[in-house]
């Protein structure tokens, strides 16, 4: 049976460097498919999508809220051609009721051990409208290596440089952060994968540069120590979300190849200053993730925060505006207060203001968002800062003998499209 799995495109943020990373959800889902299913994967961000094909069954995998309307359009095109369409992925779970209107079926939850039934039902013309596994997670021990073989790998190069590969070492999150839906999606219990299963997966990845996509690694110190210790021999370099604020853990993380971390910077406190310094002391760079427009932010607070970012020598900064994704406390609060002013899901990209901020107009917050990007990168552009970060990883790779040169034959292509060198 031929199953065509599509990852819809989304509008990229204005004025920012666009990188297309190989998606993670589809490769994890593909690993759970029954053996008789032949999968064709199309990432619409880098591949051309055509609708007239011989696929038996269509899957649409959606991670971002900004993908869902395009996902619905794609489903409608396939319905015109008499194909059945199933939706899955994070934003299907966040927008399940709406997505159901465009779907023959939706899959909610984690895929391991559940897809045999879905495909059996499809083959027997008994496809259910909803496969709901939100309440019961699969045994974390059963999660094996993702199927990265479905990716068109050459499309994830920019001017001959390969993008990082994504992998995950845990699911769920014990934190309940204001703007985040992960606790709803993966459960409020941290579920680390056994280290030997993570190592098994690492051994299958031929890319020296990785992005560990777990929400936060800083949830179980002993597991983190064990994980990093086992990762050292692989000589990978990787970025991740926060690592435990502990010298022993950070030291091992650095030995295991921690390249840079995404660290939320939410105020100008000494705690944040020390947190960033500690990463730097261990040779780990920091990309600050800065959320603008919370109820604690006045214009002055935002400007002071940006000055602070420059003071603490962040290696990179990524600014977003508070966006109320469903199933977050932010969404609940702003919904109750009738402060969600834009309901077009395409605008829920964290770069467009869709709420009424407490201390300023939406237009002013939008201006401050642009001000933040412009001010932080005034003296050294985003590309220059990225290049510096890139140079550090090359130096590390040269030192440990894992450096792979730029692929010259792809030097005039960016994510599959022709560009000037």
């Amino acid at each position: 049976m031929k199953f065509k799995l599509i990852y819809p495109k989304w509008e990229k943020l204005e004025g920012q460097t666009t990188f297309n990373l190989p998606p993670h959800g589809p490769v994890v889902m593909a690993a759970a498919l029954p053996a008789y299913v032949h999968i064709e994967f199309v990432d619409e961000n880098v591949d051309e999508l055509t609708f007239d094909d011989d696929a038996d069954f269509i899957g649409i995998s959606m991670m971002l809220t900004g993908q869902i309307k395009r996902g619905w359009q794609i489903a409608s095109e396939y319905h015109k051609r008499g194909k059945k369409v199933i939706f899955g992925g994070i934003s299907t779970m966040l927008h399940a009721e709406e997505t159901l209107e465009y779907a023959d079926s939706i899959f909610l939850g984690e895929a391991e051990g559940r897809l045999e039934k879905v495909f059996d039902d499809f083959r027997n013309d008994k496809l259910q409208k909803v496969y709901n596994y939100l309440a019961v997670h699969p045994d974390i021990n059963t999660i094996g290596p993702a199927r990265r073989d479905i990716l068109n790998k050459e499309k994830y190069y920019h001017k001959g440089v390969r993008m990082v590969d994504l992998f995950h070492a845990s699911r769920g999150c014990k934190y309940n952060c204001y703007p985040c839906a992960v606790a709803y999606l993966g459960g409020k219990c941290f579920r680390p994968r056994p280290v030997d299963r993570v190592v098994e997966e690492l051994a299958t990845i031929d890319n020296n540069r990785l992005f560990i996509v777990d929400n936060s690694l800083a949830q179980d110190k002993q597991w983190e120590l064990d994980l990093f210790r086992e990762m050292i021999p692989f000589k990978k370099n990787w970025c991740s979300h926060p690592i435990e604020n502990d010298d022993e853990v950070l030291d091992l993380a650095a030995q295991a190849g921690a390249w840079f971390v995404y660290q939320a910077v939410f105020d100008t406190s000494d705690y944040i200053r020390d947190r960033i310094k500690r990463y730097h002391d261990h040779g780990i760079a920091v990309e600050g993730t800065i959320l603008l427009g919370t109820d604690d932010h006045t214009e002055d607070d935002i400007k002071r925060l940006i000055d602070f970012l420059l003071e603490i020598n962040l290696d990179l900064a990524e600014f977003t505006v508070l966006t109320p994704f469903p199933h977050t406390k932010a969404y609940d609060d702003l919904l109750r207060q009738n402060r969600i002013i834009d309901h077009d899901w395409n605008n829920f990209n964290a770069g467009k203001v869709v709420i009424q901020p407490k201390h300023m107009t939406p237009e002013r917050l939008q201006e401050l968002y642009h001000y933040a990007w412009d001010t932080f990168y005034k003296d050294e552009s985003q590309s220059e800062k990225m290049f510096k970060l890139f140079r550090t990883v090359i130096m590390k790779e040269i030192a440990n003998g894992t450096y792979k040169p730029v692929r010259e034959e792809l030097a005039n292509r960016s994510f599959g499209k022709k560009v000037n060198r």
Binding site: V130, A135, N176, Y178, T294, D296, D332, R336, Q337
Partner: protein
């Protein structure tokens, strides 16, 4: 019976933990206090944040009010439904304690179309008889 609740949550506003099947039947829970006064049956549903494994009260307001109404035999015309978001003990002001009255329409079988309006803690105290007698 109160079970598994965060001791930091102000228990003036809940007497029990109420377990319910939330959106997509996900096991969910909230704090619950029901007080009858002369005009209303006041139902306070408290968000339990990390202690709630499933759907939030806000996300499930109308079905939850319906469930509670049937479970405790409350006249829909007399129910006053209040969402309590307790103080999350954070320095962030948007994690402070708040109360919202929710008005619904009744379609004959269930509550629909929730509309929230913030109300003062002192007003909630009056409604449930916690206000000091003058």
């Amino acid at each position: 019976m109160i079970k598994h609740f965060n001791k930091d949550i102000n228990s003036d506003y809940f007497d029990e933990v109420y377990d319910f099947k939330g959106q997509w039947d996900v096991p969910s829970r909230c704090g619950l206090k029901i007080v009858k006064n002369e005009q209303h049956t006041v139902v306070i549903a408290t968000e339990l944040y990390a202690e709630n494994p499933g759907t939030s009260v806000t996300n499930f307001c109308a079905p939850l009010a319906t469930l509670i109404g049937f479970a405790f035999t409350i006249d829909p015309g007399k129910m006053m439904f209040i969402v309590h978001t307790p103080d999350a003990k954070s320095k962030l002001t948007f994690m402070n304690e708040n109360f919202y009255r929710v008005d619904f329409s009744w379609d004959g079988n269930r509550f629909i179309d929730p509309k929230w309006s913030q109300i003062a803690k002192s007003r909630v105290d009056e409604l449930i008889g916690l206000a000091p007698k003058l």
